[in-house]
């Protein structure tokens, strides 16, 4: 079966790779590019632990082929912090205890980041719906909602976006 040479820009850095057609985007990120912040939690496209931004939209990277991302911009959790400054979403999760084991957290934060780009002051209901594709077993979601509300307020104040 043929392989393909693709170029993906991840967190601003272009990477060229020669990949099998069937290589999943999440494996490209984790195994080839060694960005292990994005996690795998299931095999039926339910859990969202693998969420990254693909051309600005949060997607489940386990259900995208690496070849489909050729030429695209990808943002992973490793791209949230800029020049040593945490993104308000990261701050919010830390401040509000929005994580416990940390495994769903990268995906959850990428979804949160994307939400706040589109809806700067979401209601609680909008938040819960936006993260309904990200499963968490530890937090019971309440502090995640608070984390996102914290980030929204911080961004409204004029924090980084």
């Amino acid at each position: 079966m043929a392989t393909h040479t693709i170029t993906v820009t991840v967190n601003g850095t272009a990477h060229e790779a020669n990949v099998d057609s069937r290589l999943l985007l999440v494996h490209l990120l984790r195994d080839v590019l060694r960005l292990t912040g994005t996690h795998i939690g299931c095999d039926t496209t339910h859990c969202g632990a693998c969420t990254v931004l693909l051309d600005g939209e949060p997607v489940k990277s386990c259900t995208v082929l690496a070849v489909q991302a050729d030429g695209s911009q990808i943002m992973t959790v490793e791209g949230l912090e800029r020049n040593g400054t945490l993104h308000p979403v990261q701050e919010g999760f830390w401040q509000e205890h929005g994580l416990q084991c940390g495994y769903c957290t990268p995906g959850m934060m990428m979804t949160s980041y994307a939400l706040l780009q589109r809806v700067p002051r979401p209601t609680e209901q909008e938040i819960r719906q936006a993260i309904s594709g990200n499963l968490c077993r530890c937090t019971g979601y309440l502090n995640i909602v608070k984390a996102i509300q914290y980030a929204a307020a911080k961004q409204a104040e004029g924090g980084a976006s």
């Binding site: 859990c47 077993r137 530890c138 309440l142 909602v145």
Partner: protein, 790 residues
């Protein structure tokens, strides 16, 4: 709650300090097992049985071995050469690593493929051809115990049936008598189905046998690294693995909840493969493998009777349970408690006579029993007593809150010896329930319910007033495979006044790097920010039994306090030496010793630490460290009252949780924010089995609910906004007065939900519904009662 004794800078008990472990997690720099890559590492993937019970007639590996990248295929026959094809379980039963004769549950491991990358390994698994001869399947535990049922454990020479154990506790005759003499007895059969903990990270390991060093290192998703190391040494000693040359490392773990305590075949196969190949071997299971083969929880068929006087005073409790354990007893209970701590089933009530018995049966299902945040079967016990208590209230036409208040063990009776032998350390049940009733607005809700009933609208209020039992446990009664259930802490203070503290437990998200540091801060006044906490590496951490059953704070937390106090004792001597006074002249406040009556004459803990290395008195050893192995004198008994309010859609049967109020008491609190987080998470894992989650089997042993398509883990939309509050009743025997809280909410929540739904339908004559309470179940009841939306 009293104010913290230390300042926020020091961050001792009571401070909601931000977690010290978060900086790596929020950056995606956590180090989970699948993040670990070692030079030369190969990948292991597992061939699994589609049949629940079948002879293996042949395994053809030829096609698999031809696939580029596939290095080897391991079968039971391979492991048999090393006598590793079977291994002991944590309950002293035996379990197959890989079968040589037959498989006994669907998704059982049958063979393992080793390949250079995970894609080739997956292809290899598809290419292995196994021929099976199906055998009769036993999935009903009742049928399993009938005479003439096929005997499943043909590997056990003299086994003639499928009965595993009989366990009983209490006074059978006294209870029979008490029930006979009761004015009313309510009786109910309750089935609590199988569920699966489904942590977002599945199980896995990297087994790395270094031939040159003769040393095995296993990075592994385990909640109990030391116990695993000892088990490996005992089980594989004959192939040359000696305990001092085995290192188990639990890196960051993405959720455990009990599911990462057992030793799964995948780990053992990976270790064997690494030893044979001399290369690191990585095994990471898929979600479906995790749900279908790894340790389940619950699966108890319960028959309960509760007797009472007509004024509502409970007189006797009798329970008979059939436990479906799957094909082997691999539940990780303390060895003297094959049914865990089920005997907490008299709950929060002063029931004078009680008797409980549990029989366990083998079936063609995966093994397990307690892997879902249950405190060793306390979820089952509490569900039983809280459901039957509501049924008693219904029978007597008494308000369920009033019935509970009438029967609660009153505060003045603590420490309280229960009819089934537990000494509850402390509790104030009426205070918790009253607080919950206040917060939820109980009386107004009952009025609203009455109004709604007139209009045919369905609304319910469910109470659960639970008593938990955690902190296993005193060495007199508790051991796992003989290993006593103490736990440990070793603290070393450095010359510049910072410290490192290592524990025998292992957090999987509970925040130990922060809470344990806070304990040290509380006891020594060293800022929590300066206390580095480590767990999980058996080469460096003191021996402990791990984290599960909410035991970390009660046992290892206590060890932390005791080790810190030993250090404080030595620090006092050093301070006396530095201040040139006698020890009797000194007083302590967090962070310093000062001379009585002359507080300006003081030495900080930092100054003392420096002196321990630069200016210790003659005759005293240098250094400032201590270790404590803590043997708890008793368990601890967190408790609480939860109130759940539901509205039911008469057209679809959907249950909507309108409100959920949780009042918890876990004694003195180390970090309130972390405690709340534990409760939120536990509540979510409480409504999940109540309304959504179930693993079941058809008559051929085919699993239903074996993927996230059908195993319904709640999202943020299904999960209500939790309302939480506290009462504080310290534990009298714990050095910090703390009790532990990790599982309280999973224990207390399901019956609150079930009670609410039954309450909503009680006026239609409904008395009980088994969980999960699906919309279909509710709608069937409504239809039957003529109350469904037309």
């Amino acid at each position: 709650m009293t104010a913290p004794r230390t300042t926020a800078d020091i961050g001792g008990m009571g401070h909601s300090m931000k977690r010290k472990e978060d900086p790596r997690f929020i950056r995606g720099q956590g180090r989970y097992v699948d993040d670990i890559v070692l030079p030369g590492m190969v990948y292991l993937d597992i061939v699994r049985s589609p049949f629940a019970h079948a002879k293996i007639t042949s395994i053809d590996t030829e096609a698999a071995l031809k696939i580029p990248g596939v290095l080897a295929v391991i079968t039971g026959k391979t492991l048999e050469q090393y006598n590793l094809h079977w291994m002991p379980t944590l309950m002293s039963d035996t379990q197959m690593v890989l079968p040589t004769e037959k498989v006994m549950y669907q998704a059982q491991e049958v063979a393992a493929v080793i390949a250079t990358d995970r894609y080739a390994a997956a292809d290899g698994v598809e290419a292995v051809q196994v021929d099976y001869d199906p055998l009769p399947v036993v999935v009903d535990p009742f049928k399993a115990l009938e005479p003439g049922a096929p005997v499943l454990r043909t590997d056990k020479k003299d086994k003639k049936d499928n009965h595993i154990f009989h366990w009983e506790v209490g006074d059978r005759e006294g209870t029979d008598k008490a029930l006979k003499g009761s004015d009313v007895v309510v009786k109910q059969d309750i089935y609590i189905p199988r569920i699966h903990v489904a942590s977002i990270e599945t199980c896995g390991c990297v087994a790395d046998f270094d031939r040159a060093m003769g040393k095995l290192t296993v990075y592994m998703t385990t909640q109990a690294p030391h116990a695993i190391r000892t088990v490996f040494a005992l089980v594989a000693g004959h192939v040359g693995l000696s305990e001092e040359r085995i290192r188990i490392v639990s890196p960051d773990i993405g959720g455990g909840f009990g599911g990462k305590v057992p030793v799964y075949p995948g780990y053992v196969i990976a270790v064997a493969a690494s030893v044979v190949l001399g290369k690191p071997v990585k095994w990471i299971e898929d979600r479906m493998e995790n749900l279908q083969a790894d340790s389940f929880a619950r699966d108890y068929h319960i028959s309960v009777e509760l007797g009472a006087k007509k004024d509502g005073t409970m007189t006797g409790l009798r329970i008979k349970t059939l436990a479906d354990h799957g094909y082997t007893d691999a539940a990780a209970n303390p060895s003297k408690f094959p049914a865990g701590l089920f005997s907490i089933c008299t709950g929060s009530y002063d029931v004078k006579h009680a008797f409980a018995e549990v029989d366990a049966a083998y079936t063609n299902k995966p093994p397990g029993g307690i892997a879902y945040r249950c405190s060793f079967r306390v979820t089952e016990a509490v569900h039983t007593i809280e459901r039957i208590t509501d049924m008693l209230a219904q029978e007597l036409k008494m308000d369920p809150a009033q019935l509970r208040l009438k029967n609660f063990i009153p505060p003045e009776k603590f420490p309280y010896k229960s009819a089934l032998g537990w000494e509850y350390d402390s509790g104030n049940y009426p205070a918790a329930l009253k607080k919950a009733m206040d917060i939820v607005g109980y009386d107004a809700l009952r009025k609203e319910q009455a109004e709604k009933r007139k209009k045919g609208e369905l609304m319910g209020i469910g109470i659960s007033s639970f008593t938990e039992i955690v902190g296993a446990g005193p060495s007199k009664q508790f051991d796992i495979l003989g290993l006593k259930m103490f736990d440990s802490c070793e603290i070393r203070v450095h010359p510049t006044g910072k410290a490192i503290a290592r524990f025998g437990t292992k957090s999987q998200g509970q925040g130990h790097e922060t809470t344990y540091a806070q304990i040290v801060a509380e006891e020594l006044g060293i800022p929590a920010a300066h206390v580095q906490v480590e767990e999980g590496d058996t080469d460096t951490a003191p021996y402990g039994l791990g984290t599960y059953a909410s035991r970390s704070t009660p046992v290892a937390g206590a060890a932390g306090a005791m080790a810190a106090r030993k250090i404080r004792d030595k620090a006092k001597k050093l301070a006396a030496h530095l201040l040139e006074v006698s020890e009797n002249d000194l007083e302590w406040e967090p962070g310093k010793f000062f001379v009585k009556g002359a507080p300006q004459k003081a030495k900080t803990i930092q100054e003392i630490a420096f002196a321990a290395y630069t200016n210790h008195p003659q005759g005293m050893e240098a250094g400032l460290e201590a270790v404590s192995y803590y043997d708890p004198p008793n368990l601890t008994f967190p408790f609480g009252s939860y109130i759940c309010v539901v509205d039911i859609d008469r057209g679809t049967g959907e249950v909507k949780i309108r409100r959920f109020v949780a009042v918890d008491d876990c004694g003195n609190i180390i970090n309130p924010m972390i405690v709340d987080g534990q409760i939120h998470g536990g509540l979510t894992m409480g409504i999940a089995p109540a309304l959504y989650e179930e693993i079941s089997y058809d008559e051929n042993g085919n699993v239903q609910g074996g993927s996230f398509m059908d195993y319904l883990v709640p999202t943020a939309v299904e999960t209500p906004r939790w309302e939480t509050d506290k009462t504080v009743t310290p534990s009298p025997h714990h050095p910090l007065g703390a009790k532990g809280v990790g599982e309280s909410a999973t224990v207390g929540a399901p019956p609150a939900v079930a009670n609410a739904v039954v309450d909503a339908l009680a006026h239609l004559g409904v008395r009980h519904i088994d969980i999960p309470i699906t919309p279909e179940k509710v709608w069937n009841i409504l239809s039957e009662k003529g109350a469904a939306e037309p």
